[in-house]
């Protein structure tokens, strides 16, 4: 049954070194608090899976937690590069990172296949592009009915998927609304799932909209207010575009990045303290 846990307990219980993790979120509801807790606990050797890796994967990579990244668009949206990712990939700082690269359509399909219990997804994509040359998980397949040439993508089945949502009830049913990205598929494709939420309430349902993910596919729910910051939680708080702009300067230089991470992440005991410190220093 779904356990209501503190975030540090959930990460300690379910996230192990060397595992493949998906911290999904498509601009909205990015599980930033969970990512920072992984950094605090120093969990290393991870394969990080996400369609749109942004700041939290930049932080995990810069802190040496990742061996590999699987992705389909990696950047600081509207701002520029992920400096820690680029320096890891281009200069092996702090260590080598392997990449497996897709387009959005393929990666979304790979999660759907994983959630559907299939070993691969079928799509019409990638034709004429360079992707099949650089990713061995893209193959050509013939339709058995029409003979049409199609593309097969190996399914994604993360060891652990972590997402952030607006609410959960006391039984651990999760409710989210707004841009829902690929979160549901990523949870259903995973062996284990952790969901952080803005608040735990008595009851959730879809009568007034939104999407409910039932509790028996979720291992742990953690209440973490502002847990998506600097991403947003529709109905709770807006995206902090200023922080995304600030991150460019914080992350550009490795030494400065390390100092910042030490001061703000490693030396704060949890996300609440981290967020309070950001407010005090005018980042939030």
């Amino acid at each position: 049954m779904t356990e209501i846990l503190k975030l540090d307990e959930a990460i300690k219980k379910y996230v192990k070194p060397g595992e493949a993790l998906a911290l999904e979120g498509f601009t909205h509801l990015i599980p930033n608090a969970a990512g920072l807790e992984i950094i605090r606990q120093g969990i290393k050797g991870l394969t990080l899976i996400r369609m749109t890796p942004d700041l939290i994967y930049d932080q995990l990579i810069g802190m040496g937690c990742a061996d590999k990244m699987v992705f389909s668009w990696g950047g600081n949206p509207g701002v520029g590069s992920l400096h820690r990712f680029r320096e890891a990939y281009e200069k092996k700082i702090p260590k080598t990172i392997e990449i497996e690269e897709h387009a959005h359509a393929a990666m979304a399909n790979a999660y759907v296949a994983g959630a559907s219990g299939l070993p691969f997804a079928v799509m019409d994509g990638y034709k004429g592009t360079s992707y099949p040359e650089i990713n061995k998980n893209i193959k050509t397949i013939e339709c058995p009915f029409t003979g049409q040439e199609l593309t097969a993508i190996r399914a994604l089945n993360p060891d652990v998927t972590i997402v952030h949502a607006q609410r959960a009830d006391k039984e651990g049913n999760v409710w989210l609304d707004g841009i829902i990205g690929v979160q549901k598929e990523a949870i259903l494709a995973a062996k284990k799932a952790i969901v952080t939420v803005e608040e735990i309430v008595d009851h959730v349902d879809e009568k007034t909209g939104g999407t409910v993910i039932p509790n028996w596919v979720i291992d742990a729910v953690c209440e973490v207010p502002h847990g998506a910051f600097p991403s947003y939680a529709s109905g709770y708080y807006k995206r902090n575009n200023n922080f995304y702009l600030s991150w460019d300067a914080i992350s550009r230089d490795y030494a400065k990045f390390q100092d910042w991470m030490k001061e703000f992440v490693l030396e704060t005991k949890d996300f609440a303290e981290f967020y309070k410190k950001l407010e005090q220093e005018n980042y939030a």
Partner: protein
Amino acid sequence: MRDQDYTLSELMSIVASRMLTNDDVCFVGIGLPSEAANLARLTHAPDIKLIYESGTLVTRPDVLPLSIGDGELSDTALSVVSVPEMFRYWLQGGKIKVGFLGAAQIDKFANLNTTSIGDYKSPKVRLPGAGGAPEIASHAAKVFITLKHSTKAFVEKLDFITSVGFLEGGDSRDKLNLPGSGPQMVITDLGILEPDPITKELVLTHVHPGVTVEQIKEATGWNLLVADSVKRTEPPTDKELEVLRDIKLRTKIANSGAAK
């Protein structure tokens, strides 16, 4: 409008916006395409249906999104669908009339690179990657491309093809059996390029006011073909400039506060 009472960047967005019509269903890339598509919606194409890959169908943002999934897009959308649904039903399913893309690099057959420059495994420049672009380029009924002109951006041959235009020209795109017809126009800050109907090589067809053909050839990394009769782009109207400057100002104000 008096000559040069505007920047070439403004002109680029305005010219790009004119390519869209009121009946279009447009899958919009972030950045320059988003600026042009929203300008079209706020001027001559009020009923245009704008779609972003984050899942927002028929969105009407009041400010330009910084990211493809800003709350402004979902708050003002007719419907928000999941990302798998967006790519499977709406794009792959053939429900998109126009794809509007930007890029870091383009070649003479309008193939695009947003992945990496140099050797893939040890790149000179590692770019963000594909996002939704490869399947927008292959599945939208037609494609418009907008990017700024320079020899770094307009290169003879790409190191990596992220999204297909006309591949190696001629009938090479046709042989891939892609559902969409490919790029129709490339709108830059200096002019407009269109594919030759037979060879599919990009040809300069329009020059923006105050720009020379020679200037455009110099900013292109291959020997750019020039149409027999090159047309002069219509300068921006007062209305177009006013609407563009308004939305950019609103965007700047919205992004300047720490939005809680």
